[in-house]
């Protein structure tokens, strides 16, 4: 049995996805036998969000649409891991939270037009997060530790 994994990306620079692709330089063939990538938009177009063992989520939540999707991911994943600084504590994607009132007024039209929330949030402000991998971009070694923990927990290794 393989570990059913999804990779999701919200408001961010996708730098953690890039770190993941770089880890694949060394782990692709190993992971191919251990992991079933059910959802991975960066590498495939046929993606399914259902019965995931582990969801790795990058990015902060800035729109209502993102919030809804995050809740859907949570509902369909046994374990949810926040990867990278934006997901773990909101930064730097949350920099508009700290703008002056003038600057906030300047960007208001865009926020309203595209369904942005008043405040950009870290994942844990919205749903329960099981593990966090901090860093900008995320710390590779912590990520590998968490992944190994999950592989063991679901008895894949």
């Amino acid at each position: 049995m393989k570990l059913k994994v999804g990779l999701f990306s919200f408001t961010s620079d996708e730098g953690c996805s890039m770190i993941f692709l770089e880890l694949m330089n060394s782990y692709f063939f190993k992971w191919k036998d251990l992991i079933d990538f059910k959802y991975f938009k960066l590498l495939k177009s046929k993606n399914e969000l259902k019965d995931l063992d582990v969801a790795f989520v990058e990015g902060a939540i800035s729109t209502f649409k993102e919030e809804k999707k995050l809740r859907e991911i949570r509902k369909n994943s046994k374990i949810l891991v926040a990867i990278g600084s934006c997901a773990v504590n909101g930064s730097p994607s949350n920099q508009r939270n700290f703008f002056s009132q003038d600057t906030k007024n300047e960007i208001k039209m865009i926020l309203d037009n595209f369904g942005h929330k008043d405040k950009v949030s870290a994942l844990s402000e919205i749903i329960k997060v099981d593990f966090s991998v901090p860093g900008c971009p995320m710390d590779e070694n912590v990520f590998l530790d968490v992944l190994n923990k999950c592989l063991k927990e679901f008895k894949v290794i």
Partner: protein, 425 residues
């Protein structure tokens, strides 16, 4: 065949970032094509205001995970021009090497992981079978070599800490340099096959196109003049005067026209406008493939990227083998009021930064023009043409062709939406 139909693609895959596409056809005519870049804005233009100049390149590096080195380098160049700092020859060489590392990694990711599945008619590199496994090994070895080159110079491949305004904090270690040279030499042989695959690939979309690129004397993506296929030459600092910002109400990214018309930036533009300046080893070994440029086949953007990987490898090997890097005195910075423009070639095309500093060295404003934003209008127009040319085909076929074409442009939605200038009254 089809008089009326609509195509909606939610969440285009195998590109960087988020985008949707809406197409409406009525009475056998394409009524509209809306490429909706749905990546959420992170307001970097606003966020850098008031920040001290030395912290800003590392901050804007976070605009994009894949080409962070391009943002960092371009912003650094703009700040240096504003403060009249002249980096040493050695610093410029290190910058070239760091950029080459990024180009190798970024192009390899796009070609092997995003485009090859199209060539082999598979959904994903994850579905490749035994026959294609060797190419997967190549993919990760090439990507790793690029990564290791950027790490050697910048300390990290994404958001590299050693690269600072005016200088590098750290010089490449001699033993690690040797290893990287070996690695580059090893993966060089993989690129022949990659180039051949995209040369033999039958995908074609031809249309009259205006190409724009920063052309450099050694094809190093850093310093030169902007040229166009209309034979116009523009100094870096005047580029903005030729651009026209177009507000696209359904997209979170702004589009740009060049002198009022759509245009294309990126590897294809660079190859069309500057191929003579490729490294001599690249020109010698890939002459047959380089000969087909200039080309107006958008899918040749992929071939151009593959050739650029070879150039980056060849020039990097030459620089690393012939340069003795030495500790240099620390750069003296005199803080003053000023404006500076930086223009470089990022993997996806021309990147423009204008930075204005106050007398304390704080950012008054920054203006950025991103490659994908420059290509956005042409991408839409090309999709419109593609749909018009294929109205007698099935929707599934058309959708697949569109996705292939968009991927050939190698768009990056994170970059495209970093900023906003409100002037849409």
């Amino acid at each position: 065949m089809h008089e009326d139909f609509e195509i909606k693609i939610e969440n285009l895959s195998k590109i960087e970032g988020h985008a949707n596409l809406d197409i409406k056809v009525r009475k056998g005519k394409v009524e509209y094509v809306k490429l909706k870049i749905s990546e959420n804005k992170r307001f970097y233009t606003q966020a850098i205001r008031g920040k001290k100049f030395e912290s800003v390149p590392q901050l804007v590096s976070r605009i994009c995970g894949t080409c962070s080195i391009a943002h960092l380098t371009c912003c650094t160049e703009a700040v240096e021009k504003a403060l009249e700092i002249n980096p040493s020859e050695q610093t410029l060489l290190l910058r070239k090497l760091m950029m080459y590392g990024m180009m190798i990694r970024d192009h390899a990711m796009h070609l092997y992981l995003f485009c090859l599945p199209d060539v082999f008619g598979k959904d994903s590199v994850l579905d490749f079978d035994e026959k294609q496994h060797e190419l997967i090994h190549h993919a990760f070895e090439v990507k790793k070599a690029g990564n290791d080159l950027s790490k050697l110079i910048g300390g990290r491949a994404i958001h590299p800490p050693y690269a600072q305004i005016g200088q590098f904090l750290h010089l490449p270690d001699k033993n690690e340099t040797k290893q990287v040279i070996e690695e580059l030499k090893k993966v060089r042989s993989h690129i022949f096959e990659l180039v051949r695959i995209f040369y033999d690939c039958p995908f074609t979309f031809r249309k009259r196109t205006r190409f724009v690129a920063l052309t450099t004397e050694d094809f190093s993506f850093l310093e030169g003049v902007i040229k166009t296929s209309q034979k116009i030459t523009i100094p870096e600092e005047n580029y903005w005067e030729h651009l026209h910002r177009v507000i696209i109400p359904y997209s979170q990214a702004t589009g740009f026209e060049f002198e009022g018309k759509d245009f294309m930036v990126g590897a294809l533009a660079r190859m069309n406008l500057n191929k003579e300046k490729l490294h001599k080893e690249t020109k010698k070994d890939l002459a047959k493939y380089i000969r087909i440029f200039p080309s107006e086949n958008i899918f040749h953007n992929n071939l151009a990227q593959a050739i650029e990987i070879m150039h980056c490898i060849d020039h990097s090997i030459e620089i690393l083998e012939t340069t003795e890097f030495k500790q240099e005195p620390k750069i003296e910075v005199k803080i003053k009021k000023g404006k500076g423009v930086g223009v470089i070639e990022a993997p996806r095309g021309t990147l423009y930064y204008a930075i204005s500093l106050d007398k304390d060295g704080k950012i008054l404003y920054g203006n950025l023009v991103i490659p994908t934003a420059q290509n956005q209008i042409k991408m839409e127009n090309d999709i419109k043409t593609l749909v018009s040319r294929n109205l007698n085909k099935s929707k599934k076929f058309i959708q697949n062709e569109i996705e292939k074409l968009i991927r050939a442009y190698d768009p990056c939605m994170m970059c495209a939406t970093h900023f906003l200038k409100v002037n849409w009254i």
